[in-house]
């Protein structure tokens, strides 16, 4: 198989979610990603709480296809090995707090003296400059600070914020984009560069036109539940269906779509109410309309109602659970979103494939996440050409502890 990033080597110091999910994107396309892990910090083995089943799943999902070596960066021997790896790498990735890499002599200025055309990805909560550069964050902190938490939820309840760490997924996407852009620029100019990725900035970029709106009109802005702040339609929401916690998302914008929707649900009397005849008027009476639409959906099976509405050209989608995605969705199954890859012991592990299909260079994942330090021999002997004697000296010097 042709792999677009074959020949690219990534020295990957990242941990938790955002960083590893960025480098997994590169690994899928054939980049050789070497995770640098350490016995000295067991909590940082590339996935949070990997002693739990869910943590194990996340380690596999974000680290599939990578290699792992254990280096003790507190020792000179460990740091020396890291520098030798930089010399043969194209990309160095890290998402430590701002003091760590400089402390090892491995900030961008340091690594570029080892390899002048290196691309270095530094991911952090707030960026490596500015008054907040030393602040620390988790995904939820960034969602709160960037405005997403306050904006997500219904207007009459407390804000819920996004479930899970949207900001980490966003950081991962942004990190991969930035490295790919830098690789493209390097292919054209021969020069490497430093990427200073602030996850707060990656998130703030996704609040889209809100900054323009606040600066232009100064109106106060509030969360809107499942309705759109602008350009909305009605009905537009999640409607309860038959069964336990089953819901169907239905979105109708134009009068044409409304006519299709009404026809599909059997033209009940309430749908001919003149208040619902035109899009603008439907929006004005959206609360009443929501109750009436739900009076129809509560009698329906969510999947059947989706198929019925989709057959009429109405954008409707089941509010799917994890189980739905994994087992009940025939579409995802046919497209093969989930893949089974063997871990080191040969046990099959479920991971997500990349959410884009490239016709010529689709990429591939052939194995799950590495066991901690599993590729010590391969990395040291085959990549760096370290011999037995040297290996023994490094071990004595504590490089791998």
């Amino acid at each position: 198989m042709t792999l677009a990033l074959k020949g690219i080597r990534v020295l990957d110091f990242t941990w938790i979610h955002a960083g590893p999910s960025a480098t997994r994107i590169l690994s899928d396309q054939g980049a050789q990603v070497i995770k640098v892990e350490s016995n000295q910090a067991l909590s940082v083995v590339g996935g949070p709480a990997s002693n739990t089943a869910r943590g194990l799943g996340q380690r596999h999902n974000w680290n599939a296809g990578k290699s792992s070596i254990s280096l003790n960066m507190k020792t000179d021997a460990g740091k020396e090995l890291a520098r030798r790896l930089v010399a043969v790498s194209d990309v160095v990735a890290e998402n430590f707090s701002g003091r760590v890499m400089p402390g090892w002599g491995m900030d961008y200025e340091g690594v570029r003296t080892i390899r002048p055309d290196i691309i270095m990805l530094s991911m952090s909560g707030f960026g490596r400059t500015g008054p907040w550069k030393d602040r620390v964050s988790y995904g939820q902190t960034l969602q709160a600070w960037s405005g997403f938490t306050d904006l997500t939820g219904f207007p009459d309840t407390k804000p819920s914020g996004p479930a899970s760490a949207y900001s980490d997924a966003v950081g991962g996407m942004a990190g991969a984009q930035a490295v790919l852009l830098a690789l493209i620029q390097r292919a054209r100019t021969g020069r490497g560069q430093w990427i200073d990725l602030s996850q707060m900035e990656a998130m703030s970029a996704l609040l889209g036109p809100l900054a323009l709106e606040l600066s232009a009109n100064g109106h106060s802005v509030q969360r809107t539940g499942n309705r759109l702040h602008h350009g909305g339609g009605a009905p537009h929401g999640a409607y309860r269906c038959k069964g336990d916690d089953r819901w169907l998302a239905i979105t109708v914008f134009t009068d044409h779509e409304w006519a299709d929707f009404v026809g599909a649900i059997g033209s009940p009397d309430w749908a001919s109410d003149q208040r619902f005849a035109r899009a603008e008027s439907r929006l004005g009476h959206a609360d009443d309309l929501d109750r009436l639409v739900e009076s129809w959906t509560v009698e329906q099976n969510a999947e059947e109602a989706m198929h019925l509405l989709q057959a009429a050209g109405v954008a409707a989608g089941v509010v799917q659970t994890g189980q739905d995605l994994a087992e009940n969705d025939p579409h995802l199954r046919e497209r093969g979103l989930f893949q089974q890859v063997p871990d080191a012991a040969g046990t099959l592990r479920t991971i997500e494939r990349a959410p884009y299909k490239l016709s010529l260079t689709p990429g591939e994942v052939t194995r799950g996440a590495p066991e901690f330090g599993a590729d010590q021999d391969f990395v040291l002997r085959e990549i760096l050409g370290v011999d037995d004697e040297e290996l023994a000296e490094m071990a004595i010097a504590g490089a791998f502890d």
Partner: protein
Amino acid sequence: MLETGEDNSQPLSGIRVLDLSGDLGVYCGKLLADMGADVIKVEPPGGDAMRGTGPFIESATPPENSLHWRHYNTNKRSITLDITSHDGGVLLQGLAATADILVESFQPGYLSSLGLGYEHLSEANSGLVYASLTPFGQTGPYRDYRGSDLAGFAMGGYMYVTGWPDAPPNKLWGLQAYQTTSNRAFIGILIALYHRLATGQGQQVDVSMQEAVATTTEHVNTAYNYTGENAVRCGFRHGGQFVATWQCKDGYVSITTNTAKAWDDLRAWMDRDGMAGDLMDEKYNDRFILRGEHGSHIEELVEAWTLTHTRQEITDWGQANHHPWGPVTTASELLDNEQLWERGFYQEVGGEKLVYPGAPYKLSESGWQLVSQAPQVGQHNSQVYCEELGLSADELQDLIKSGVV
């Protein structure tokens, strides 16, 4: 090597993109343009429907008053073209022969039915990267199903887990499902472009909104696939874990007890204020205790304490001790963020003093730039059709009269 001329000032300088996309792909086009590509937005004669989407700026008139349009089309050029007409199709074929990338988000098969599919356009330009963004992708039983941001969130599994347990599932603010699709597509396009730099070969990129969302959920898939249990809605108690948002004196604050020290510090500060109740008892030493049977008791005590302090106080105590705590910023406070201003993230532009969000990441060799604001309808017709495609002024006039342009 791609012929990109002398200008390498931005990563994508000299790369030409045809942006035929709607809601799903417009942000992808913006990312390409902001990173230096020459993105030509192909609008139907009269203008793109997106120009009718608010918010609107009160000092301008239609079709140039949509801030939604302006945000998503920075740095692009605009031409008008009726691609459904015969002459329009021929013109698009001519443009595609000069392009590196095409981005579209029509129903699967629609452009092929006009003779403008990948199989048609790659004949004259084998290097073309042709990206199609759709609700469900180009294949599979739901390929013709309609989509919307909300339906994408629902089908991708993100919506079921967002919101409060006793309330309906909730979407994220804004058009995050669309933007996630664009973000994912941008990655696919960059991979294809990198391959093209090495080989000259283009390819097709098939992006499904459902998959883009499903791979962005963090825990939904791994929870089910590895524990057999569905992740559920937890409000702002993240997954029922040690990450939570609390009401305080002037709003809400995010407190993460991600280490034993963070949990001990929190208890100690509550105790200092005489508000720790029985939390100093050693049975509460486990920082994961929020998940357990004592969860609601602890929540009551913590929130009684946070209510006596401001966001700033709690944030400062946490950050001073390296705990990832921070305020819930309200929407109206967004532009008060000193870090974003200090780093040049926000860019104030023009006499209207509009504030644009800036680079999602900083590249030291020059990356994101706001060179030009969104174009007016057909602003670059003459430049593109006459100067670049070689039509005469009369020919362009005829095309305008016949409604093709």
